[in-house]
Symmetry: C2
Subunit: 363 residues, 2 copies
């Protein structure tokens, strides 16, 4: 997608053929900065510190991290250490585990001195595959938006989204946003209610930013407001992403998603979850078993933004001496999800629904 | 209640016998400042700008505003103008209307030159009555907390609250917090999950602050987190306040309350609304008719806090060019409310429930 009118992706291999560049998303939307990752530690820190975030992008970045690690130590022990280091960065997103396994499987049978090269090839494949997956989600989801606009007599479809499941969370297009961008490009009128998404404000900082850069009409709201908007008939559908989908259709996504799903259910607003097949954890029978990352309470007590002097500044919003708890994700039960929008099509949020699109997973 | 160990109220008449002082709540928790209100305009601005906020405190402040206005112009026209000016400051809280009517009724039959004095007397009555009402809510609600602790084998009762329905929203004790403070004073172990309450962060800035000043155990969470906490069994009950209660038990409260009520219902967590009888609007059959204040989108895009240099600073959290929508309240339907905790006792959130405590309102 575009930044300042220029087409970009969120991660790319540099012309040197080994270092990798990313958009440092911690600085957005106030500063656009590119960071170069030159080794395994750079990559692990970029994921931990959320310079890159979003389940698909975490997976792709970790794949390059393994390639960089194998450049330094291509032995079996080096591979195992690099996998362990990267796997420990974020516990909830399943794509991370998936990407590390995909790269490991691609390099393990090679002799050490060609492993790094094989890893770079696999990482590039993961990146291209992710773009195709996002495009697939967009194409399938587009019909849902078009349907509302047709039923509305051509009035804009109002979509509520939570957090950033946009192109900044992937390589291009996004997951939840892919149908929105495709609708916009095809002239289908769409307006997006953007949840701020405390505590890290990915909605305010990233989703609003990328929608603005693409010229998509949007309005920022606090996380508290979505239920009221739905009560007032101002939301036609919700589309969110997911960091891990259990085999029964339960989804783990950014904290607060569950509350929006409850409100959607209570107001008969369709609640869609957009996901690449890589976020499905077929080994987990239900969402309650998904590990939920606990992050620092400081993310709750402090907020970062642009000061009136134009500097990115952190301020403490809470009373001194009050501490914060910070679970980063919650689980939305499948019963609250209208449908899953995957790269293979749209299905019910259930084991049967998922198996209808992924029959090869039937035991 | 206490600030720095010293007992205080949120509003008081100064020794000069005419000017009124308030705690300027816009500066809390970072700066404790007292503001003096010397005329009608000072009062109207203090309410509009939320130097004072909270339905009961708005009512009491407006009562003094009318007294100050009548000092300058005690004529019938002056009274009508002052009522109109103050009534326009905040549309949702019914206590404002109630207090203006109470003072008007108390002064209207007097000749102009004694009206100001009569208004001061009535305002003082409203203040004292509010303290008694909060105490009543606390005494009735206390049994609910004690019951959980007894059932838990003496473990702390975990209460989730939204926004600030604490003593800073009233004159003393608070509404939702009154049972909490009474429990704490009686040695009943209580821990409070404090919702941050975007966009104005009254939970982080005020509720956490006042609980800390009283030594009540509490943890700050983002508004997104409460549903997850309830799914995990970490919340024994919710207690919130209300700005207006319809005659059928629907409640308007700070935006986001509805989402917590949905989560409480979905997880069998009791959801209580604490309210003084002055917030009941007997003329409104249902909550959907309550006017919902729309505030500036700037409250969504900008956040105020304490910088690392110790200055209260405002930062912009959103992307430049993205605008915010800012409905300040939402309506929680009575079906999601376990019980109402009033100064007259606890009742079902229904017309019959309310009439059982307020039989004089039966038509």
């Amino acid at each position: 997608m575009r930044i300042d009118g220029k087409r970009m992706r969120t991660i790319w291999l540099n012309p040197d053929g080994w270092s990798v560049s990313i958009i440092d998303q911690r600085k957005l939307p106030h500063l656009f900065e590119i960071a170069t990752l030159q080794g395994l530690d750079d990559v692990a820190r970029a994921i931990e510190d959320m310079a890159v975030r979003g389940a698909p992008l975490i997976g792709a970045t970790a794949a390059y991290g393994l390639a960089l690690g194998l450049r330094d130590d291509p032995s079996d022990a080096g591979l195992a250490e690099a996998v362990a280091r990267l796997a420990a960065t974020r516990p909830t997103a399943i794509n991370l585990k998936w990407a590390l396994e995909a790269v490991s499987d691609a390099v393990r049978h090679h002799v050490p001195h060609v492993r790094a090269e094989a890893a770079y090839i696999k990482a590039a494949e993961i990146v291209e595959a992710d773009v195709a997956v996002s495009r697939g989600i967009g194409e399938h989801g587009l019909s849902l938006l078009r349907g509302v606009v047709e039923a509305n007599g051509g009035n804009p479809v109002n979509v509520l989204t939570h957090c950033n499941a946009g192109w900044l969370a992937t390589i291009d297009w996004g997951t939840a946003t892919a149908p929105i961008y495709m609708a916009h490009q095809q002239g289908i009128p769409v307006h997006v209610w953007v949840d701020e998404t405390r505590p890290r404000n990915q909605g305010a900082a990233l989703t609003a930013y990328e929608l603005g850069q693409e010229g998509v009409s949007h309005t920022l709201i606090v996380d508290n407001a979505g239920g009221h908007m739905m009560q007032r008939g101002q939301v036609d559908m919700c589309i969110v992403g997911t960091d891990r989908t259990a085999a029964n259709g339960d989804v783990a996504n950014k904290i607060g998603t569950y509350l929006k799903a409850l409100a959607a259910c209570d107001n008969d607003v369709p609640f869609y979850v957009a996901l690449p097949h890589t976020t499905i954890d077929w080994t987990l029978a239900r969402g309650a078993d998904i590990p939920i990352e606990e992050r620092s309470g400081r993310e709750v007590t402090h907020v970062s933004g642009l000061s009136s002097e134009g500097k990115v500044t952190e301020v403490q919003v809470s009373a001194l001496g009050s501490h914060g708890a910070n679970p980063a994700f919650d689980v939305t039960p499948a019963r609250l999800v209208t449908s899953l929008i995957t790269d293979r099509g749209i299905c019910a949020a259930s084991r049967d629904g998922l198996l209808s699109l992924f029959p090869e997973r039937a035991a």
